[in-house]
Every structure is written in structure tokens, then in C-alpha cells.
């Protein structure tokens, strides 16, 4: 069935882990990137992710189609985003506090409505076997790639192009950097932020659907274990650059696979330490890439944390 790969098993597992685990990080961080570029923070995406996972699973089970589930998760995420965007446009509303409230609301609602969907088995999203060229089953397994991952990768590059070249992308950046400047050139900051937050929520919802419909592929209350929060932090790490969000998500996924993979090749002691690898790696990279003078480089000027 499988060949013994010795130590090669670790990099192959990391490759597989990067592809399997990174997708939710990728979608949530792209969503947050879009929202923050418009000058707003949405910390509620963890709640949106969990609710999206529940909604996607429930709708996929009811309709029998995982893609309808993904669509439902996106719509649910967009509704959460619209709600956040709508509340935050009122004077004096703190978007960080609102985001935390929304996170708790999303998780609570997901647990409430998801109660009856823990047991049923919903159809999974299909995977595309990109490993056909290899005879090694481990490589074939690592390269079972879900369509959503491909969409996420394309989206990361498309979003980078969009921010740089498209008229709407430029407007979003202006709104994010200076509300006054945006008003001066006749752009409505509230409208842009509202829809950026909604789109960001929709992306986080899709990330949730990936969790429940593909990997690990079932709905339960512990499905996210804080991935939505980490993805929001990844945006800062990625300096608000969509392509860097992709790199960060891949890195996080790969680092997460180190712990289990090392145990299989005989490095069995100290696994708690290896499980901390993603966080250690993030800390190390943050320290390495930031110098005191340019710590906030790339940060939108209107963000409540940088103002």
C-alpha cells in the first residue's frame, strides 16, 4: 500500500499539511485583508468561520450538494459582515469591541443551530488528484487538492492585482488610508467599508465551509479551535498584502503538520513542543521581519489600531 519513505515523510507531510490545513487560514485572512484595507477591523471572523462551517454543513446535508453548502456559508458570512459594517458606521462604535461581540454571537448561534447536525453525515467537497504523475501513495495523498484551495490561490493574486490596478481597489485603499481624502475625491467611505466588510465576511464563511465540508470534513463544536483568530493575526504578519497572506497561510499549515509527522518518523518525545511550532515560527518571523522604524509598514492609516 505505502512505501517506507523514512525522513522524507516529514517534508511530504508538511507539503500535504500546507495544502490541507491552509485553506481556512487563507480565506479568512484574505477576507480580513480586504476589510482592513478599507480601514476597518473585523475580529468577529472567528465567529463567522464557525457559523459558516455550521451553515455549510447543514445546508449541504439538507440539499445533498456541498457546493450549495459553500454558497450558503458565503451568504451567511456576508450577512455577518453587513451587520458588522452597518453597526460600525455609527459614530462612537468601536470596531474591535463590536468584533469580539460578533465573534461570540457567531459561535453561540452556530452551536445553537448546529446541535442537530453533529450526527448526520453531509456530502464532502470533491478533491482534484494533482498527484497522478507520482507512483508514491503519500505524494498522491498530499496532492489531493480541493477546488477551494485553487480558488483561494487565484483569489490571492487577483486581489493583489485588484488593489494595485482596479479603480475600485484604489478607492478601497484611499478609504482605508484617509477618510477625509476619500470624501474630498467624492468617494463614500461608509459604503465602501460596508461592502468590504460584507465581502470579507463572505470569504470567512467559505473558509468555514471548507472546514466542515472537506477537511477535517465534519461539523462539531470544536471544529475551528481558534483558526479564525489566528488568520486575523496573519494579516498583520502579512503586512496587508494578499500574496503574503497566501504565503503565511501555507507556512502555518505546513508548520501544523510537523508535530504529527515527526512522531511517525521516530521523533516521539517533546511533541507538545512541536505542536507549538506554528506559533513559534510566527513569532520568530515577526521579530525577524520587523525593524523598529518600519513596524507598521503597509498598515492602512484609518485602522483603529494604528491611528
Amino acid at each position: 500500500m505505502s512505501e517506507d519513505l523514512g525522513l522524507w515523510a516529514v517534508p511530504i507531510a508538511m507539503l500535504g499539511g500546507a495544502i490541507r490545513v491552509s485553506t481556512p487560514f487563507l480565506f479568512v485572512s484574505l477576507g480580513e485583508c480586504l476589510t482592513e484595507r478599507s480601514g476597518r477591523i473585523n475580529l468577529g471572523l472567528e465567529g463567522t468561520l464557525v457559523f459558516g462551517a455550521m451553515a455549510g454543513y447543514a445546508i449541504a446535508f439538507e440539499t445533498g450538494s456541498p457546493w450549495v453548502g459553500v454558497l450558503a456559508a458565503a451568504i451567511a458570512g456576508a450577512v455577518f459582515g453587513l451587520f458588522h459594517g452597518w453597526i460600525c458606521r455609527f459614530r462612537g462604535v468601536n470596531d474591535i469591541a463590536m468584533g469580539i461581540a460578533l465573534m461570540l454571537l457567531g459561535i453561540g448561534l452556530a452551536f445553537f443551530f448546529g446541535k442537530s447536525y453533529v450526527q448526520p453525515i453531509a456530502p464532502d467537497l470533491p478533491a482534484i488528484p494533482f498527484g497522478w504523475w507520482s507512483d508514491i501513495p503519500q505524494v498522491q495523498a498530499a496532492l489531493q487538492i480541493n477546488a477551494l484551495f485553487v480558488v483561494g490561490v487565484v483569489l490571492a493574486f487577483a486581489m493583489a492585482w485588484f488593489f494595485k490596478n482596479a479603480a475600485l481597489g484604489l478607492r478601497i485603499r484611499v478609504v482605508g488610508d484617509s477618510t477625509e481624502a476619500a470624501r474630498a475625491i467624492g468617494v463614500n467611505p461608509d459604503g465602501i467599508r460596508l461592502w468590504s466588510t460584507a465581502a470579507g465576511g463572505a470569504l470567512a464563511g467559505i473558509g468555514g465551509a471548507y472546514l466542515s465540508l472537506y477537511y477535517p470534513g465534519s461539523w462539531n463544536e470544536g471544529i475551528s479551535s481558534g483558526q479564525g483568530l489566528m488568520a486575523v493575526a496573519l494579516v498583520i504578519f502579512a503586512r496587508w498584502n494578499p500574496v503574503m497572506c497566501l504565503a503565511a497561510a501555507l507556512l502555518f499549515g505546513a508548520a501544523g503538520a510537523i508535530g504529527p509527522a515527526l512522531q511517525t518518523v521516530g521523533v516521539t518525545s517533546g511533541y507538545y513542543l512541536f505542536f507549538a511550532a506554528p506559533y513559534v515560527l510566527t513569532l520568530a518571523l515577526l521579530i525577524l521581519t520587523s525593524t523598529p522604524g518600519k513596524a507598521q509598514e503597509g498598515a492602512p492609516g484609518e485602522l483603529s489600531i494604528t491611528k
Binding site: D4, A13, S218, G222, P260, T264
Partner: protein, 368 residues
């Protein structure tokens, strides 16, 4: 997740006052209120579901009221849950079902509530150390994993079987060791790769661990985590055969499911509640196995061969007859230390098994 409920809020403020006000009646009463506390959701296809099925049987009894709370972490949260069940719901018999609730949480609360009985699953209660209103009960589910291992030993082609484990506590180690020793009854060349995830419930890590086992060529996989659903589905998707744990997971992948070791709490719980209602005393230390109806096996799946079925049935009959030992000499652990000399054996009810801290020879993994 922090849960701020009426229960936790009131418990912290009102607990002290309420204890002195409420009359401390004996356990025997016309109506008995029984409390169940779970560490995860009640329908997790696993540990908590097995306990909740037992609680449902208690609920059906006359004159019994059941209060339940799920998703209670093994922190000071469980103390508030217990306090509020006792002070506000009038619970006289408590089943805090998770391993980590025992020390220090139950041990802290129990001396303050003499009239309340605390029944803890898996805890190591001992008469000289712990309060008398605390009891511990558990089943010898390692025997179930031993039987799982026999079906796995027949089914494996790569001679490698895999185990996704949460934490290296004695009960988990006994399950891992039993699973391999069962398989080694079929072929002594078989090895078992274990991966610890470090937490009772961590879906993504469990899926990654299962994939890592499949990558290493393990073709029969079982687990000891709270909700085995993710492990079972991921293993089946990687074309590995599966052995269940805690509850019957065969609906998840009927073709791949060999058999499974399940809890059978309904009879145990209704028995204890009945004793309490009649004014009797529940033993502080209750254990039972397959023969006592504490555990049961899932029906054998279609992938179990005739030879496997035969050996499985024969071994099961021996276990039912009593006195069977899975851990017997000559046996070494996987670091080379002697566990049992030739002729020495640890029968299923041997208390020494409940402080197991080793993995036997042939298990690839380490306890720390």
C-alpha cells in the same frame, strides 16, 4: 470559550450562603435529582455521547430528575457547575464524567458537601486519600481494544496498525497496548504507531495525525479521543480499515469498520441511581468489564474474515469467562524494561493497570 450563564454567575456569589441554608438530607429521598457534567457535546459520536446515553436511561426512571451540562472545561468552571447543580438544582448524586474533573476539582468540592455523592468516571479513588462521598467507576475497555486488535491483526497487510491518542494517561496507554497485543496474537511481527494530539478534542490535529499514520503505511487505525468521528472518516477516506471506540461509529464507514469497543453505561447508571433511591450505599470503587455489561463490542463488519471472526469469538468467550489477562509475561516495554516476567500476568481487574505509564514493545511512540 467562556460561558457566562445564570449558573456560573450565581454559583460564584451564592454558593457559600446557600450551602448553610439548604438542609443536608440523606441520599434516600422520594425524588432524586441527578446531575451529569460532560466535557464536550452530548452527541459527539464518542465519550460524551456514551455517557449521555446512560443519562437518558436514568431520565426514564420514575422519581428521578436529571440535570445535564455539556461543554464544561476541566478547569475551575467545573467547580462552579457542580456547586450550582448542588445548591440551585438540589442535586444529590453527581456524575462529573471527564477524567480531569477529579483532581483537584471534585476533591475540592466534595468535602464541602457531605450529603452529596460524587461519582467520577476513571478517577483513581483510594480510601486512605480521598473523601468517602466520592466514588470512582470505570470499565475495562482495554479488553475491547484487545478484541479490536485481533480483528486488526487479521486485516492488516502492511503489518502496521495505527493509533491516534489524546493524552498519555493510564487508560489511554492501556488501550494502545491492548490494541497492539491483540494484533500480536495474530502475528507477533505487527507494530503499532501511536500519535498523541495532546488534547481530547482537536479536529484538525486529529485529521493530520490520521493522515500521518496513513502516510506511514498503517492500514488499520483506531483512536482514543473524545469524538472519534474525524479520525474514522479521515482514515476511511485514506482507504484504511477502522476500529471504533467509545460508541458505534460503523454508520460513518460501514464497509471499512471492523468492530469497536463501546461503553454501555445505561445499566451501570440506572443501577447506581436505584441503589441511591433505596437508601443504600454505592460502592466507592466500581469496576466492570465485558462480562458485567460495562462495555460491549460493535457488531463485526463485512471486512472481518472468517479466521478473524473465529479467533475473535474464542477470545471474547475467554474474556467473558473471567480471569483473562492481556498484559502478561514475558513482556517488555518499548524502552526495553521488563514489564512482566514469564508467567506473570495482569488480569483485567488488576489495580496496577490503572497506573500504567509505559508503551509495550512493538508500539512506536513515547509517553512524553
Amino acid at each position: 470559550m467562556t460561558r457566562i450563564s445564570r449558573r456560573t454567575l450565581l454559583a460564584s456569589t451564592g454558593a457559600v450562603a446557600a450551602t448553610s441554608l439548604l438542609p443536608q438530607t440523606a441520599l434516600a429521598a422520594d425524588e432524586l435529582t441527578v446531575g451529569f457534567i460532560y466535557v464536550g457535546p452530548k452527541d459527539d459520536f464518542g465519550y460524551n455521547q456514551a455517557h449521555a446515553e446512560g443519562a437518558a436511561a436514568v431520565k426514564a426512571m420514575d422519581g428521578v430528575k436529571v440535570v445535564e451540562e455539556e461543554n464544561v472545561p476541566e478547569t475551575v468552571d467545573v467547580q462552579s457547575s457542580m456547586e450550582s447543580m448542588i445548591n440551585f438544582d438540589g442535586v444529590k448524586l453527581l456524575f462529573p464524567t471527564s477524567f480531569g474533573y477529579f483532581d483537584p476539582h471534585i476533591l475540592d468540592i466534595a468535602p464541602k458537601h457531605e450529603g452529596v455523592r460524587f461519582q467520577h468516571a476513571a478517577g483513581l479513588w483510594s480510601a486512605d486519600k480521598h473523601p468517602t462521598n466520592v466514588g470512582s467507576y470505570f470499565g475495562y475497555i482495554g479488553m475491547g481494544q484487545y478484541l479490536n486488535g485481533i480483528t486488526a491483526g487479521h486485516a492488516t497487510k502492511t503489518k502496521k496498525i495505527g493509533f491516534v491518542a489524546a493524552k498519555p494517561i493510564p487508560q489511554v496507554l492501556l488501550n494502545i497496548n491492548s490494541f497492539l497485543l491483540g494484533a500480536r496474537q495474530v502475528d507477533p511481527e505487527i507494530t503499532c504507531q501511536v500519535i498523541f494530539t495532546g488534547e481530547w478534542s482537536l479536529a484538525v490535529k486529529e485529521a493530520e495525525a490520521t493522515n500521518a499514520l496513513a502516510d506511514q503505511g498503517c492500514d488499520v487505525i483506531t483512536c482514543h479521543v473524545d469524538g472519534p468521528k474525524v479520525v474514522m472518516e479521515t482514515a476511511a477516506a485514506r482507504d484504511a480499515l477502522i476500529c471504533g471506540y467509545h460508541a458505534n461509529q460503523s454508520p460513518l464507514a460501514p464497509e471499512k469498520y471492523l468492530t469497536g469497543a463501546e461503553w454501555n453505561w445505561a445499566g451501570v447508571y440506572t443501577g447506581m441511581v436505584k441503589t441511591a433511591m433505596e437508601g443504600g450505599t454505592i460502592d466507592n470503587f466500581v469496576r466492570g468489564g465485558l462480562a458485567d455489561g460495562f462495555i460491549k463490542m460493535s457488531p463485526l463488519g463485512p471486512a472481518v474474515s472468517d479466521a478473524a471472526r473465529k479467533q475473535y469469538d474464542a477470545t471474547k468467550a475467554k474474556i467473558m469467562a473471567g480471569g483473562f489477562a492481556a498484559i502478561k509475561g514475558p513482556l517488555k516495554d518499548n524502552a526495553g524494561n521488563v514489564i512482566a516476567a514469564a508467567g506473570q500476568s495482569f488480569v483485567e481487574d488488576d489495580i496496577a493497570l490503572e497506573s500504567m505509564d509505559y508503551l509495550v514493545e512493538g508500539v512506536i511512540g513515547s509517553t512524553s
